[in-house]
Assembly symmetry: C2
Homo-oligomer: 349 residues x 2
């Protein structure tokens, strides 16, 4: 074991502050990573503040991790010292159950091990995330970062990226499809970029007319203001796929009216009760509502490779770790375009 510096919260009401945590020794399967950048995800805040219950303290958040390989175990051949690598939302799973065997480790029957607040199989206790100098991760959960991309702006791809890429990929969005992205935040701005790169006609769907210009800059072909009933009617029954990134419970019935027959709306943001869905909204047109959770390791690597090929990164604002508590308040207020990334050098100074 070795002690490293990290930023963590002692309880649900505490601000994040510098603490020391322990990292395990490098085992034969492990990759030791010097963390250079770490994205700030809304889940970090929910966990720190125990919004979903069950948080374990101290919480050291961070699951959008970019870094340089410092050391590899004897059984590691895909990575070497100095490589730029990424770590996303999970650092372990059983790798033996049906979901794991089908590259859906996020649904591991034993439970995937979250990058933070997961059950640490090595040291006992719980895992600590990326707001830290270093992390040691089993090689299976380490991702290669394409060389042509800005490393800091790659960080959010490890969560916001895969969360939006995976459903667009799974439901086979492609050229000629009309795709709606509902909500323009950390997830939504990635959804627009991906759907555009996949060749779809992309419609940004938002309650805020003020977001139209930025949506178009990001790749949206059209903007639909969901409060505009006339505009909603004009787009009725016309969408091949809807990606719903709204992070809170809301009324999805108006969006269901936008879907074509047999089309799907996939929820990726709201992990809480939705307002009542009308049975008729599904029955009329054989429509579907689904959900999707990040993506498996193989698909996450595919997503990063896709980003390398299409020059896609996240729109970010860089911060130092000592401003993290202010950044959290800004995330909660929707005041970031579109993702904070921590320069982890600021933890070492």
């Amino acid at each position: 074991m070795s002690e490293v510096k990290a930023y963590g919260a002692a309880d649900p009401k505490a601000d994040l502050k510098q603490i020391n945590i322990e990292r395990r020794e490098v085992t034969p399967r492990d990759v030791k990573i010097k963390i250079t950048y770490c994205g700030v995800c809304h889940s970090d805040i929910h966990t720190v503040r125990n919004d979903w219950g069950g948080s374990k303290y101290p919480v050291v958040p961070g699951h959008e991790i970019i870094g340089k390989v410092l050391e590899v175990g004897s059984e590691v051949s895909d990575f070497k010292v100095g490589d730029t690598v990424g770590v996303g939302c999970m650092v372990d799973s059983c790798r033996e159950c049906e979901p794991c065997k089908h590259d859906l480790e996020q649904f591991c029957e034993q439970g995937m091990v979250g990058t933070y607040n997961g059950k640490d199989k090595h040291l006992g206790g719980h895992t600590y995330g990326g707001y830290s100098e270093e992390i040691i991760v089993d090689k299976y959960y380490v991702l290669s970062v394409p060389e042509n991309l800005d490393e800091n702006a790659v960080a959010p791809l490890l969560c916001a990226g895969i969360t939006t890429f995976s459903p667009l990929n799974h439901w086979k969005v492609g050229k000629g499809d009309k795709v709606g992205v509902i909500g323009l935040g950390g997830l939504g701005h990635m959804g627009i970029k991906f759907a555009h790169a996949m060749g779809a006609h992309v419609v940004m769907i938002t309650t805020s007319p003020g977001k139209a210009e930025d949506a178009k800059r990001l790749g949206a072909d059209e903007v639909l203001i969901s409060k505009d009933e006339e505009a909603m009617k004009k787009h009725a029954n016309s969408f091949d796929f809807l990606l719903n990134t709204v992070p809170v419970g809301h009324d999805i019935n108006p969006y269901l009216s936008l879907l074509k027959i047999d089309a799907t709306m996939c929820m990726v943001g709201a992990v809480e009760p939705l307002e009542p869905v009308h049975g008729g909204s599904l029955i009329m047109g054989r429509k579907n509502v689904a959900g999707s959770l990040i993506g498996g390791i193989k698909e996450t690597q595919e997503m990063l490779d896709f980003c390398g090929e299409h020059n896609i990164v996240s729109d970010i604002e860089m911060i130092d770790i000592n401003t993290i508590n202010d950044a959290y308040d800004r995330v909660v207020n929707g005041d970031v375009k579109y993702r904070f990334v921590i320069d982890m050098e600021s933890l070492r100074n």
Copy 2:
């Protein structure tokens, strides 16, 4: 035009009683049918009582119609006088829009014409259904009834049958699949029969332990009492498909927990708001909720042919038309196994 006897309701509070209605002359595309049997669907009652709003009076219900061909128009070649035929929930559609061209006339962009309370394109006003001596229907919407089946027990296939067959068919239920049918009524009992005939392992899911024996007689391999939390846990994440026939709004979250990764629950009963769905119920396991409405004409014929091949009919209780008002009360109280069928000879006497 010709006048025929029918049973109809004058307003939302009125009992059904004998009235006279007008039927059009036989046009070149028409088939004139002497109605022999008509099933009683819960929608009949909702329409008579204006539960969904917009009912037009007098309402002459009935969209599970069996009869004999009395006369055919000059352009009709598929049917001849004396044939046993069926008419289901629709008697017209545009036959030109994309849904119609894809055999999904139930989603016709011009609106399908319901067998009753639809917009009558021939006489103006609204259409009158099968609680009647005769009906005249465009050949496209007339179905052939397999000769080996009991005609009276075929009647409910035209609505309850296709409503449950279509989703099982669309989601490709087959041998080796574990399929749950939720709710044992007019729809549910057909769902069990079809899923069993398709080769699935069928689990009847109900709140009523008293329904277990009958469910097994109908073809269920197992019965799962949804109030039994231990039993529900044992079946968690194990179903390939769920057919939800519950006719009222309810909490679907416990049922979503039964689905495998990527599996679908299809709603066919509840055309009203459901209790709040938890976003996490969909996100964890990439699960789907969908809806389905009857089926197209081509698929309805396929369903009837499937029934002929597998000797499937509805479990019915025969009634005379003059007991229809009592029958409605019994349907509302769930006191029928599993579908009333009116012997329309009783209207002629």
